[in-house]
C-alpha cells in the first residue's frame, strides 16, 4: 500500500553524495519525491525525526538465511525481519543451504521467498561449485539469466581448495562480469576451532593459524591478477590478510573486501570459557588483528561491513566446543556495535560508518536501488536511527529464530527507529510492521 509521508528534521548522511545535513524528505509511491529544508506538508503524514540520523537502507553482502534446509535455525521470513530491525533493506543470501543454491531453481526459490516476506530485498548468492564440493563448476550462467539475476558466487562455509578450479571459476565468471567470493581457509592448515596461538595451547583446543587464511587470500589475489576477475574477500580476520589486500589494491587489483562486526570488536579471550557462542569461522583473533582491521576499514582497504549473520539452534550451540558449528548472529546488532565500539571512540566517523553499511556494499554488488544517493526520484530504501539510544541485547527478544549472539547482555548505544523499504515502513518507532 503506497504511503506518503514527510521525514521532518532528520540528519541525512548520504555517502554516495558526500552529504551530511539536516533536512526534510518526502516519500510517496515508493520513491523520494522531494528533499530539502522546510518542506510543505501537502496532506502527507509528518514524522518527527529530530535527533535521528537518516541513511540509505543498509545492505548486507553476507547473510545466512538457512532456508531451504535449516528452517529450525532461521527462515527467509525471520531473517528478513531481523534484517529490517537492523536497518537493512537488502541482504545477500549465501548459498550453503540444503539443497545448495547451485542452480536456477534454488536461487529463484530463495528470491521468491524474499519477495513473499516483503521486508527487504533478498538477493541470492550462487554457489561456485556444485553442492559446494569444490569439484565441478556450478551453472553460473543459468543463475545469472534466472529471475534471481545472480552475479555473485561463493561456496562460503567451504573454501575452494583446488587452485586450478578456482582459476577456471574466475575466468568463467568474467563472462557475466560476476564476482567470485571465496571463504579463505586452507583446509589442510585448519581443522581447528579457534585462533591458533598462546591461548589455544592453554585451552587444549586445536587452532586455525592466521596462515590458513592468508595463504588462500594470497593465492586468490594472484589468480585474480592472472585472470582479470573480480574478487571479493569475505570476513577478513587477520592483520596479514589486510597487508595482502592493501598491496594488491595498490597495484590496481579488482578486489574488494568485507569485515564483520565481531571481527572488529571481539577477541579470542572470549573463548576461554569454552562457550560455543564465541565460536566462528574465521575465528576471533587477537588485539593486533582487531586494530589492523579497524584501521583498514577506516582507510578503505576493507570496503564494507558484512554481517556473516549465521543462525544456529540452541542445541547446536550448547555442545562441546569442538563439536559445535561456528557462526554468530549479527543483523540486529551490527549498527549498535559499530556505533558503540567504533564511532564513539573515534575510530570511524559517522559518514564512513554509514558508507560501510550501505553505499559501499551496494556499489560492490551493483544493487542500484540501494545505498543512495538519496535524491529526487531515488527508491525509498532508507533507515533512521537514534545514535544515542541505549538498549540491551536480549537473545530471547531478537527477531531471529536463533539465539547465538556474542553480544548477549551488552548495552549498546545506537538503535534503528524506522526502516523504510520501497517506501513502506518495515520498522516504525522500533516496532515491526509486516510486509
Amino acid at each position: 500500500m503506497p504511503e506518503t509521508f514527510i521525514l521532518r528534521g532528520a540528519r541525512l548522511i548520504d555517502p554516495a553524495a558526500a552529504r551530511d545535513e539536516t533536512l526534510d524528505v518526502r516519500v510517496a509511491d515508493g520513491i523520494v519525491t522531494d528533499l530539502g529544508p522546510g518542506l510543505s506538508v501537502n496532506g502527507a503524514e509528518e514524522i518527527d525525526c529530530d535527533g535521528l540520523v537518516l541513511a540509505p537502507g543498509f545492505v548486507d553482502l553476507h547473510t545466512h538465511l538457512r532456508e531451504p534446509g535449516r528452517e529450525d535455525a532461521e527462515t527467509v521470513a525471520t531473517g528478513s525481519r531481523a534484517a529490517a530491525r537492523g536497518g537493512y533493506t537488502a541482504v545477500c543470501a549465501m548459498a550453503n543451504t540444503d539443497p545448495v543454491a547451485d542452480s536456477a531453481g534454488i536461487v529463484e526459490q530463495v528470491a521468491a521467498l524474499g519477495r513473499a516476506a516483503g521486508l527487504c530485498d533478498v538477493s541470492p548468492v550462487g554457489a561456485i561449485t556444485v553442492g559446494l564440493q569444490g569439484e565441478q563448476l556450478a551453472e553460473m550462467g543459468e543463475m545469472w539469466f534466472s529471475a534471481a539475476r545472480v552475479n555473485f558466487f561463493s561456496d562460503d562455509g567451504r573454501c575452494v581448495q583446488d587452485a586450478g578450479l578456482m582459476r577456471r571459476a574466475m575466468e568463467y565468471a568474467r563472462t557475466f562480469d560476476a564476482i567470485i567470493c571465496n571463504h579463505a581457509e586452507e583446509r589442510d592448515l585448519s581443522g581447528g576451532s579457534m585462533n591458533e596461538g598462546e591461548l589455544s595451547a592453554l585451552l587444549g583446543l586445536r587452532g586455525i593459524p592466521a596462515a590458513a587464511e592468508e595463504v588462500i587470500i594470497a593465492r586468490d589475489l594472484a589468480l585474480a591478477a592472472l585472470t582479470g576477475a573480480r574478487l571479493h574477500v569475505p570476513h577478513v580476520s587477520t592483520a596479514g590478510s589486510v597487508e595482502l589486500i592493501r598491496a594488491a589494491k595498490a597495484k590496481g587489483a579488482r578486489v574488494t573486501a568485507e569485515v564483520t562486526p565481531h571481527h572488529l570488536t571481539l577477541t579470542e579471550e572470549l573463548v576461554s570459557g569454552y562457550d560455543p557462542v564465541f565460536k566462528v569461522a574465521p575465528p576471533l583473533r587477537g588485539r593486533a588483528d582487531v586494530d589492523a582491521l579497524r584501521a583498514a576499514l577506516a582507510d578503505g582497504t576493507i570496503d564494507c561491513v558484512a554481517t556473516d549473520h549465521a543462525p544456529h539452534p540452541q542445541e547446536d550451540k550448547e555442545r562441546e566446543f569442538d563439536q559445535a558449528p561456528p557462526g554468530m548472529l549479527n543483523l540486529e546488532t551490527a549498527l549498535g556495535v559499530l556505533l558503540t565500539d567504533l564511532a564513539e571512540p573515534g575510530v570511524l566517523d559517522l559518514m564512513r560508518l554509514v558508507d560501510t553499511l550501505s553505499a559501499a556494499p551496494a556499489r560492490i554488488r551493483g544493487l542500484d536501488r540501494h545505498g543512495g544517493p538519496v535524491a529526487q526520484g531515488a527508491p525509498a530504501n532508507l533507515t533512521l536511527f537514534d545514535p544515542t539510544a541505549e538498549w540491551d541485547v536480549v537473545p530471547a527478544s531478537l527477531a531471529s529464530r536463533s539465539r547465538n549472539t556474542p553480544f548477549a547482555g551488552r548495552t549498546l548505544r545506537g538503535k534503528v527507529v524506522h526502516t523504510i523499504y520501497e517506501g513502506r515502513f518495515t520498522v516504525r518507532e522500533g516496532s515491526d510492521i509486516d510486509g
Partner: protein, 312 residues
C-alpha cells in the same frame, strides 16, 4: 575446598599440599579389617566417561567405594551418543538423579567446564581432550613427593608428544606451581604453539637433559601421529626420544622414570627400562587411588547442601 576440579590451577599450592597430605594419611594405614571408611556414606559419585578408560575409571570407582560412597557409571562411548543425546541432556539427566559429584572424561577440551554450568554437583575433570588431567598431575606430584621432600628447584623433564597431551599440561602447571623447574623435550612438531610463553625450557636434545634431571616423565606416543607427519616414523621417534636402559644409565642415581600409562613398550620406553628400580610407574597407579580418595574426601566431606547450578 574448591567446588569443581577442572584444571590443576583451580588449586592453590596450599590446597595441593592438603591433598598430598591427606593421601599420605590414607596410605600410611597399617593392616585393617576393611579397606572401607564410612566417611562419604550416603554420597553418590557418578562416573561419566565418554572415552573408555578402565584404569582411571576403576581408580575413581575404588576411591569412592572405599569411602562408602555409592557409585553410578554412565559410560557414553557408543550407543547414547549415537542416539544424539547431547552433553546437556546427559547433564540434566544426572542432575535429576541427584548426585554429589560427577567424574567426567571426554574427548572434547572444555566439556567439563560446560558440564559444570548445568549441574549442582561437584565436577571433577578426569581428562578432557588435549586440555587437562588434574588428578593425574596430583598423583604424579604425590609420587615424586615419596622420593623428594620438596618440589622447590626440582628438575623435571617431560618428554614426547606434549602437543596432544593433557597429562603434560596439567603436570607442567602443577609442577611449576609447586616450585619445580620443567624442561620439555620434543621436536617442534610435538610442542604446542607459543610454548616458550609457558616459562619452561624447551629442547630436542634428550641425552643432554638426562644427566641433570631429577625426574624424567615420558609421554605416550600414539601410533596415529606418524600418519599425519608429526614424526616421520615411530622408529625415528624412539631413537631420538625413547628411553632404554642405556639412556636410563645416563640419569642421576636417585632420578626417577615416570609414565602416565598405558605404555607403548618399545616406543617411548623399552620394557627393560620400565622394569628398572628407578621406574616408579606402578607406584603411580597405586598412588592414584589414595590421591583420589583424598580429593573426594576434601571435596565432598564438607558442607554442600546449598549448591545451585552455576548457570540458569
Amino acid at each position: 575446598m574448591i567446588r569443581h576440579l577442572l584444571s590443576i590451577r583451580d588449586l592453590t599450592p596450599d590446597q595441593v599440599e592438603r591433598v598430598l597430605h591427606t593421601a599420605a594419611a590414607f596410605q600410611a594405614e597399617g593392616p585393617r579389617i576393611t579397606k572401607k571408611y564410612p566417611t562419604l556414606v550416603g554420597k553418590t559419585v557418578c562416573n561419566l566417561f565418554y572415552e573408555s578408560s578402565t584404569r582411571t575409571r576403576t581408580s575413581f570407582e575404588l576411591a569412592a567405594k572405599r569411602l562408602s560412597a555409592d557409585v553410578v557409571n554412565f559410560s557414553r562411548s557408543g550407543s547414547a551418543v549415537e542416539k544424539g543425546e547431547s552433553l546437556k541432556d546427559t547433564a540434566q539427566t544426572i542432575e535429576a538423579m541427584g548426585v554429589d559429584a560427577i567424574v567426567v572424561r571426554h574427548a572434547s577440551s572444555g566439556a567439563p567446564h560446560r558440564l559444570a554450568h548445568w549441574v549442582s554437583a561437584s565436577v571433577i575433570n578426569a581428562g578432557d581432550g588435549m586440555h587437562e588431567h588434574p588428578t593425574q598431575a596430583l598423583l604424579d606430584l604425590y609420587t615424586i613427593r615419596q622420593h623428594h621432600r620438596s618440589f622447590e628447584g626440582l628438575r623435571v623433564a617431560i618428554v614426547g608428544d606434549v602437543l596432544h597431551s593433557r597429562v603434560a599440561r596439567s603436570n607442567v602447571w602443577g609442577l611449576q606451581m609447586m616450585g619445580a623447574e620443567v624442561t620439555l623435550v620434543a621436536p617442534r612438531t610435538l610442542l604446542p604453539p607459543r610454548v616458550e610463553t609457558w616459562g619452561v625450557e624447551v629442547t630436542a636434545d634428550l641425552d643432554g637433559v638426562l644427566p641433570k634431571a631429577d625426574v624424567v616423565y615420558l609421554l605416550r606416543m600414539q601410533l596415529e601421529r606418524m600418519k599425519v607427519g608429526f614424526v616421520p616414523s615411530l622408529r625415528e621417534f624412539s631413537r631420538l626420544w625413547g628411553v632404554d636402559e642405556q639412556r636410563a644409565a645416563l640419569m642421576k642415581d636417585d632420578a626417577l622414570i615416570m609414565h602416565p600409562g598405558p605404555m607403548n613398550r618399545g616406543v617411548e620406553i623399552t620394557a627393560s627400562a620400565a622394569d628398572l628400580p628407578r621406574s616408579v610407574i606402578t607406584d603411580q597407579v597405586a598412588n592414584g587411588i589414595a590421591v583420589r580418595m583424598a580429593l573426594l574426601y576434601l571435596m565432598l566431606g564438607g558442607p554442600q547442601a546449598t549448591q545451585e547450578p552455576s548457570d540458569a
